[in-house]
């Protein structure tokens, strides 16, 4: 809105927005701050926000106690693997729906989304048993397969909404120019859709990174990602707030940093391509 706003009103809005923003962010900030305290300090009353002895001992303790890097690596492989696999399956599907719409395209899309509504518990037992029998339990491959299928509908939907913004005439032009379907998708569609694909990728990496039903139920130790690493802190053992905070910070930091650096794509992605 191009209009002059009085500085006083702007100041008012600014104060309100910052207070609310900081309040929403506070639990994260508090976790990070606590992770640098000693255990004693972490439960001291009244709590101190800034003026305490900063220490990194919790981080070393957490590292000793569990193999952070293995969990981290599992998370990376699982979230990135499932997203990339999902994209490879979803790009051709979304091309079909966006550029060769048939009578039932909308229904197919809705049906795909509805499979997302299939509650995981409803199918947990058979998947668990199948995985147990074929040896996929507690493997990264198993989780990649499950998470790909879980997120596929959302990936297809997001790509579909992004593809629909690309004028069909450009793809037709490439067809006139002699491009085969493969050329059309590789040389024309995909490069044009890079921003949308990036947003989709980011969002789904985050969803997969944070997925905490299948990752908790299908892993034990070997393939456990960070969600499981953190869940092992759920039963208290003595003084553990500072260590919990350190572990939490380590679990969420990769995604927070990723989010910080790719804010624009992410904001686009967070809207699932559904709102312009």
């Amino acid at each position: 809105m191009a209009r002059a706003v009085s500085t006083r009103r702007k100041a008012g809005y600014t104060i309100a927005a910052w207070i609310i923003g900081l309040a929403i962010f506070f639990p994260i900030l508090w976790t990070i701050v606590t992770s640098f305290k000693t255990e004693a300090e972490a439960i001291s009353s009244p709590p101190s926000f800034m003026f305490f002895q900063w220490t990194t001992e919790n981080y070393s303790t957490v590292m000793e106690r569990s193999n952070y890097f293995r969990h981290f690596w599992n998370s990376v492989v699982i979230s990135l693997g499932s997203t990339v696999l999902g994209l490879i399956i979803a790009i051709p599907a979304a091309w079909s729906m966006a550029f060769v719409p048939a009578k039932h395209t909308k229904n197919v899309l809705m049906w795909m989304l509805s499979t997302k509504m299939l509650p995981p518990v409803g199918v947990l037992i058979p998947i668990y048993l199948i995985f147990r029998d074929v040896g996929l339990l507690d493997t990264k491959t198993g989780l990649v397969i499950v998470l790909t299928l879980i997120n596929l509908p959302i990936i297809v939907w997001m790509l579909y909404t992004y593809f629909k913004e690309i004028p069909g005439e450009i793809l037709e032009a490439s067809r006139m120019d002699g491009a085969s379907l493969r050329d059309e998708i590789i040389y024309v569609l995909t490069p044009m859709a890079v921003p949308g694909i990036a947003s989709t990728l980011l969002l789904n990496v985050i969803l997969a990174w944070n997925e905490a039903f299948w990752t908790l139920n299908l892993t034990a130790a070997k393939a456990a990602p960070l969600t499981a690493f953190i869940a092992s802190y759920s039963s208290p053992e003595g003084l553990f707030y500072a260590k919990l905070s350190a572990a939490s910070t380590m679990a969420i930091a990769p995604i927070l940093i990723l989010g910080w650096f790719s804010q624009k794509q992410l904001v686009r992605g967070l809207t699932f391509g559904a709102v312009k």
């Binding site: 702007k10 600014t14 962010f25 709590p47 051709p92 997302k116 509650p119 518990v121 409803g122 039903f213």
Partner: protein, 290 residues
């Protein structure tokens, strides 16, 4: 733009996605239904036998089931109300001229990046703990009795935690939608003498309807299967006060190893999800085309 060529290509290209999802839907679904008709306990291998609808009857007669059903709906509904209303208000605020808007936006989105297990643990221990949580400290500071959130209001606490995780999402979508509102339309309404409240009611809100639909659709998908937050904070308790269907089935099948009973619960969860889905799809099918 469709020729026979491109139509058959389209059919081939969409089939991997469709077939995979179809398999993903049908195979486990069929197995779940099959298991739900068996007496099947992992602790007693070899004793499986067909028992018809017994598992369903046991599930149905179990008072925990109805509580879980109600809790599931309360959880979904509660979080939706908090996030949609909060999201609209927050989006309107963030749409105003603000110094440091970009930073505020990052602060507001941040909870979305936090994995459910972490946020549940942090809220449980560092905020809601009745002895040393921040809320307790705050109560003590103003001279009140600390409140034990997770014991006395477990479901409401979980609704609070989950809302905190999903508020960013709702806010962001609604903010994007508000920013796409044609400012001339607003100015025209202002010229016509519409008060801020009626401008909101007659222009902003209808404009947001599509975005609200998207928020409800996507959040419902995720909220129906909230699990980690319950597992980490209350384990469904006290009693079954914060058990939802997902957690109930988990407890039955993986904690009690009762595959038959758990599967019956799974089927019920699927039916519930389908009822909700039908409502949603009705609503969205209409709203998404616009």
């Amino acid at each position: 733009m469709a020729t026979q060529h491109s139509r058959s290509a389209a059919r081939i290209m969409i089939s991997p996605a469709v077939l995979l999802l179809l398999a993903w839907m049908i195979v486990p679904l069929a197995l779940t239904i099959y298991f739900s008709l068996l007496r099947y306990n992992l602790l007693m291998p070899g004793t499986e036998r067909f028992v018809g609808f017994l598992n369903y009857r046991l599930f149905y007669e179990n008072p925990a089931f109805w509580t879980a059903m109600l809790n599931t709906l309360l959880l979904v509904g509660g979080v939706l109300i908090v996030t949609v209303v909060g999201g609209i208000l927050l989006a309107i605020l963030l749409d105003q001229p603000i110094w440091g808007q970009g930073i505020v936006r990052i602060l507001v989105i941040a909870p979305f990046f936090v994995m459910p297990t972490v946020s549940a643990l942090v809220w449980k221990n560092m905020f809601m703990n009745p002895v040393s949580g921040l809320f307790a400290e705050f109560s003590k500071a103003v001279g009140l009795q600390p409140f034990d959130f997770l014991t006395h209001a477990p479901l409401a606490s979980i609704i609070g935690i989950v809302s905190w995780q999903w508020l960013p999402f709702a806010t962001l979508i609604l903010l994007t939608a508000i920013q796409s509102l044609d400012s001339e339309q607003m100015e025209a309404a202002e010229m016509d003498g519409a008060s801020p409240l009626s401008r909101f009611w007659y222009i902003t809100l209808p404009h947001l309807s599509r975005a609200i639909t998207v928020v409800i659709l996507i959040q419902t998908i995720f909220l129906l299967s909230v699990f980690a937050e319950i597992l980490v904070t209350t384990n469904g308790g006290p009693g079954v006060a914060s058990t939802n269907l997902t957690y109930l089935v988990y407890a039955r099948s993986l904690l009690n190893f009762d595959v038959g009973g758990g599967s019956a619960g799974g089927v019920v969860a699927i039916i519930l999800a389908n009822i909700v889905a039908i409502f949603l799809m009705r609503m969205i099918g209409k709203n998404l085309d616009a």
